[in-house]
């Protein structure tokens, strides 16, 4: 299980990286390597050139502005896990990251790598989708931004074009009256989930649900916003009945797949259970960020 030969280039700036990407059409970016290197070792991928971005210090920053939280593509899981800034500005993100893989992998894996890899069961893309995060992409042709909804196209498929790299992900500011829930089900700690559910509930001053964001992941070929279910929560005072109904609709819409780990019908039932639990958590008073 040894990789096929490749060339290696270590870059120190984003410009250097995108210049190299533009020049070599069989180049890929090496970030944390926690998804790419297993694929290389299995010879499931054999790129001509690895562009190692690990020493681009500009890419490793966590920034906070009134507009929200900005993560450089090279921010690693362990930084999110322990950051007090993240705890304050996006508690969901921090909570979710703790479910990713294992200690050693969290020391290396990056938000950019996870996003670009786009595993259907990955937590980070699902959180980004729930939070309406914005992805900044750079290439020799310039910079563009796409929403999370547009960025993730399918299993291991994203909006990244040849020659393009992901440089940052911006999470909009966390509203004052927001409840959140995160539930996933994996066979063992650290495994990719068989299914997961994320819920954000934003309330107005009267305690009416002003906005809802419901996401499933792991069930289908990518994380999905469950808009029909969201719709039935908007503008109402939340009741047990409404939450139950939302979970049911969410399960109907989660486009579950069958694979060796679980059949589709289990995944959709699981998603309904997880979604209801996430909804209940989000609706519980202690999960509202600010009282």
């Amino acid at each position: 299980m040894k990789p096929a030969p490749f060339d290696y280039l270590r870059v120190h700036s984003i410009d250097e990286a995108i210049a190299a990407l533009a020049e070599h059409d069989d180049a890929v970016i090496l970030a944390g390597g926690q998804s790419l290197v297993p694929m290389l070792n299995f010879r499931l991928a054999s790129p001509g050139l690895l562009i190692d971005i690990n020493r681009i210090s500009d890419l490793a920053r966590i920034g906070v502005t009134p507009d929200g939280l900005t993560l450089g593509a090279l921010v690693r899981w362990h930084e999110l896990e322990s950051s007090t800034v993240v705890a304050r500005h996006n508690p969901l993100l921090q909570y979710a990251v703790r479910h990713i893989a294992h200690y050693q992998i969290r020391n290396r894996g990056t938000v950019g790598g996870s996003s670009a890899h786009a595993d259907p069961a990955a937590e980070f893309p699902a959180v980004a989708l729930a939070c309406d995060a914005i992805f900044s992409l750079r290439s020799a042709r310039g910079t563009r931004t796409v929403t999370a909804a547009d960025f993730f196209r399918g299993a291991l498929e994203t909006a990244l074009e040849p020659g393009e790299m992901l440089v940052a992900i911006q999470f909009p500011a966390w509203p004052v009256r927001r409840g959140w829930g995160f539930e996933e089900f994996a066979r063992r700690a650290g495994d990719f989930a068989l299914a997961g559910a994320i819920v954000l509930l934003d309330y107005d001053a009267d305690g009416v649900c002003a906005d809802a964001s419901l996401v499933s992941f792991g069930a289908g070929d990518r994380a999905l916003r469950l808009t029909r279910a969201e719709e039935c929560l908007r503008g109402i005072r939340l009741t047990v009945g409404a939450l139950t109904e939302a979970a049911r609709i969410a399960a109907e819409d989660c486009e579950p797949k069958s694979d060796m780990h679980a059949p589709a019908e289990y995944r959709s039932a699981l998603l309904e259970t997880l979604m209801l639990r996430a909804l209940n958590a989000a609706a519980a008073p202690d999960r509202r960020t600010v009282a």
């Binding site: 299980m1 040894k2 990789p3 096929a4 030969p5 297993p38 299995f42 010879r43 089900f185 066979r187 063992r188 700690a189 650290g190 495994d191 068989l194 060796m260 780990h261 679980a262 059949p263 289990y266 039932a269 699981l270 259970t273 997880l274």
Partner: protein, 778 residues
């Protein structure tokens, strides 16, 4: 020799910290991939990507021109077909020959079967070359299970059938269920999984052309047997081959059998006259190293209303995989033989059916046949107890063999093997022990109840576990110049700590400190004869051989001592590692004896052996407390308790460690580990990301008690096998606990592994069917 009491405190029974730990903790272990020889080349195996196909052609022409590539071998290079023989006792039908050649000849029969071997200067370049070998396969229908639609597609054309073996074993007359108030039949299934040691297999072979000598590093388990097999296949005398054991990263029964690579690597080294190393990668391991445990079962139990079991009968259907491997008879025959277990079941019968399929061949994995049989039987007992309204513990107590019934002859249940009576034990004692330790009554009150959405259940299972019999095992003791002892054993060590425990045995046998004994193991270079380590035989056989060697050692040392004392008529007494004069006033110790030997131009070097055809039987009982979330199918094991009587512990630290390790491995086998094949015979989960092994966060609460109640009567140490008792009753216990939790839903677990999907589906079905009563299958 006059007997005299040893004054030194016994080393046997001490929880002595392990000797081998010192090197392992400092990163100084020496495992097979750490072996580096001058001029060494690296080989990789090209494996079949298809389950069943005719090989139309193999084109290796592109490969030899590649950088670093030295050679490529296929079946054609071996000349006439050689086959890997069966090592263990045969089964009826196996004479039709389902044996495996080192390289596939004409046909491939499972995904992962070796087709070619490329040797290059680095493993990286050897793998580069693999991609350039062209093999033209003509696909054939894959047989993926014994009942499959493709069962007409025959794997071994010369045999003309996929039925490798079929026979019946009986005791009493199971057709007579007269007096039975209750009869019930069930189908049960244990799934395909395996030992998966953390270190994959590997070998280094070197051919010394000048001396016409073949050296092979990486031996494990049964070095002497493998040497005999290799000698026969490669056409060398046994004495021209050394199989050398290095440190081993776990075996669990699967490592150290003779595999295709055990021929291929030495063959390549000899052909190239260069050392060749082969290290299995994890993907290969999962498709090439023995699988285990896949067996279906139809079982009928007949009882009196009071729970007395009258008869157990049925059939087992074993999926052997593509070939009969070296111990390919063990799992089927042991599954049948262990079905009656520790109970007094007067009438018993089992039809054993063994089928070939286009999957990786199976072999022994820790507790072969027992894990499966205990699961089948203990489920049946729980089902019967529930139907009869009898407490499951009480039902077992009523049927367990008693101490007065020992030794107990279970009958001739294994073809071509002598019967071996259960040696000793008080089976109810172990059951009472685990009932007390787990506070069963408290848990039982919770069983079947829902707390915070979790369905609680508690389950119990009993087992008897054989171990430790022939062939003959040998030990050599050699007195070093400084008066310490070098102990060479034919047993290999795969993590069991023999360097520590064997020193303890020898220390007591000679009356010296264990620190004064250095243990060398498992290599054919150290001893003329030996056998190996499996089935819990090392302490029993290897340990008893030490006693014999120690006796011989003292007798050989005596003339030297007589010389030193200078008084031929004096009666010398051996005590505490020294000879004493009769009055106890003068003594000569081992260092002086070594000096005397040196002066005489001799070395004190003796061999001892132990031969035993009778098995030891350890026994025990386990309890599990689980909580089940039927919405997700999650099972939490809240507590696991095990009691096992091993007769006598050489080193309690090690015995305890074996037990806990076995239990967690068994929990993995119950919940996670599973080889998943599709209908084309493709192995879908050949990575550790998809083949799930238990991790540190899965099973936090494991409690073990080892008893030293009933010593074995088959060996002078009185020990019984201790390596397998941990694992063998785990699926049985957990399945009973989960079934107890779900009993109010009418759900029982008769199929392994216990996955979330399986639980969810069973719960789902029970809630949608109105007639839930008695629905047990899932």
């Amino acid at each position: 020799m006059r007997l005299s009491a040893q004054t030194r405190a016994a080393a046997i029974g001490l929880a002595r910290e392990r000797v081998e730990d010192l090197r392992f903790l400092k990163g100084r272990g020496h495992y097979i991939d750490d072996v580096i020889l001058d001029g060494m080349l690296h080989g990789v195996v090209l494996r079949s990507p298809v389950a069943h196909a005719r090989i139309k052609s193999i084109d290796t022409s592109a490969v030899l021109a590649m950088p670093g590539v030295k050679a490529v071998f296929t079946a054609r290079d071996l000349g006439e077909t050689v086959l890997i023989p069966l090592r263990a006792a045969s089964l009826p039908g196996y004479e039709r020959s389902f044996l495996q050649p080192p390289f596939a000849v004409d046909k491939v029969r499972y995904v992962g079967e070796p087709v070619a071997f490329v040797v290059a200067d680095t493993p990286y370049r050897a793998e580069d070359a693999l991609e350039r070998i062209e093999v033209d396969y003509e696909p054939l229908p894959a047989v993926t299970d014994w009942a499959s639609a493709n069962r007409d597609s025959v794997l071994h054309d010369h045999a003309g059938t996929n039925v490798a073996s079929s026979y019946r074993v009986t005791r009493g007359d199971p057709s007579v269920v007269a007096g039975a108030d209750y009869v019930r039949s069930e189908r049960l299934r244990c799934h395909r999984h395996s030992g998966v040691p953390l270190e994959t297999r590997g070998l280094v072979a070197q051919w010394d052309a000048a001396q016409q000598r073949l050296r092979v590093w990486g031996a494990a388990k049964v070095a002497f047997a493998n040497r005999r097999i290799l000698a026969g296949m490669i056409g060398l005398p046994e004495t021209a081959i050394d199989l050398i054991e290095v440190d081993i990263g776990g075996g669990f029964g699967v490592r150290g059998e003779f595999y295709p690579e055990d021929f291929i690597v030495p063959f390549a080294a000899r052909a190239l006259e260069r050392p060749v190393k082969w290290i299995e990668d994890r993907r290969e391991h999962l498709m090439a190293t023995n699988h285990a445990r896949e067996v279906d079962c139809e079982l009928q139990i007949a009882c009196r209303a009071d729970g007395t079991i009258l008869a157990l009968s049925g059939s087992i259907f074993v999926d052997l995989g593509a070939y009969v491997r070296t111990n390919g008879s063990m799992a089927p025959s042991n599954t049948a033989a262990f079905l009656p277990g520790p109970y007094r079941i007067p009438h018993f019968a089992c039809d054993v059916n063994v089928f070939t399929s286009n999957k990786t061949p199976i072999g022994s994995f820790r507790g072969p046949g027992r894990f499966e049989a205990n699961f089948f039987r203990e489920r049946m007992i729980d089902i019967a107890a529930r139907d009869l309204g009898i407490d499951p513990v009480e039902m077992r107590r009523r049927n367990l063999l008693t101490a007065q019934e020992m030794p107990y002859d279970p009958g001739a249940l294994i073809p071509n093997s002598a019967t071996s009576p259960y040696d000793s034990g008080d089976y109810a004692l172990a059951l009472s022990g685990v009932i007390a330790a787990s506070e069963w009554d408290r848990l039982h009150a919770l069983s079947g109840r829902i707390v915070d959405g979790w369905h609680h259940g508690v389950g119990v299972a009993c087992f008897v576990e054989s171990g430790g019999a022939g062939p003959r095992e040998c030990t050599r003791l050699r007195l070093a110049d400084d008066g310490t002892i070098d102990l060479y054993t034919g047993c290999s060590t795969l993590g069991q700590g023999h360097e520590t425990s064997f020193a303890q045995i020898c220390a007591d046998a000679l009356g010296i400190a264990p620190e004064a004994v250095r243990v060398f193991h498992g290599s054919t270079t150290d001893l003329a004869e030996g056998f190996g380590t499996y089935g819990g035989r090392a302490a029993v056989m290897g340990g008893s051989a030490i006693l014999d060697a120690a006796r011989a050692f003292i007798e050989q040392a005596r003339p030297l001592a007589v010389g030193l004392f200078g008084s031929p008529n004096e009666e010398l007494v051996w005590r505490d590692g020294a000879f004493f004069s009769a009055d106890g006033m003068r003594q000569t110790n081992l260092a002086e004896l070594a000096g005397a030997a040196r002066m005489n131009g001799r070395v004190l070097d003796v061999e001892g052996a132990f031969n035993n055809t009778k098995l030891t039987y350890s026994y025990g009982a386990n309890v599990a407390h689980v909580a089940v979330d039927i919405k997700t199918g999650r099972v939490k094991v809240l507590g696991y308790w095990a009691v096992e009587d091993v007769g006598r512990m050489i080193n309690p630290l090690i015995v305890h460690g074996q037990m806990i390790g076995g239990i967690v491995q068994g929990l993995g086998g119950t919940f996670f580990d599973e080889f998943i094949y599709d209908e084309d015979g493709q192995l879908l989960n050949a990575s550790l990301a998809d083949y799930l092994l238990p991790t540190a966060s899965d099973f936090p609460s494991i409690n073990c008690i080892s008893l030293e109640h009933a010593r074995s009567t088959t060996n002078p140490l009185g020990v019984k096998a201790a390596g397998e008792g941990g694992i063998v009753a785990v699926a049985a216990t957990v399945a009973n606990a989960v079934s107890a939790a779900l009993a109010p839903l009418g759900v029982g677990i008769n199929t392994l592994p216990i996955t979330p999907v399986r639980i969810w589906r069973a719960a789902q079905e029970s809630m949608t069917t109105t007639a839930t009563s008695g629905s047990q299958g899932n």
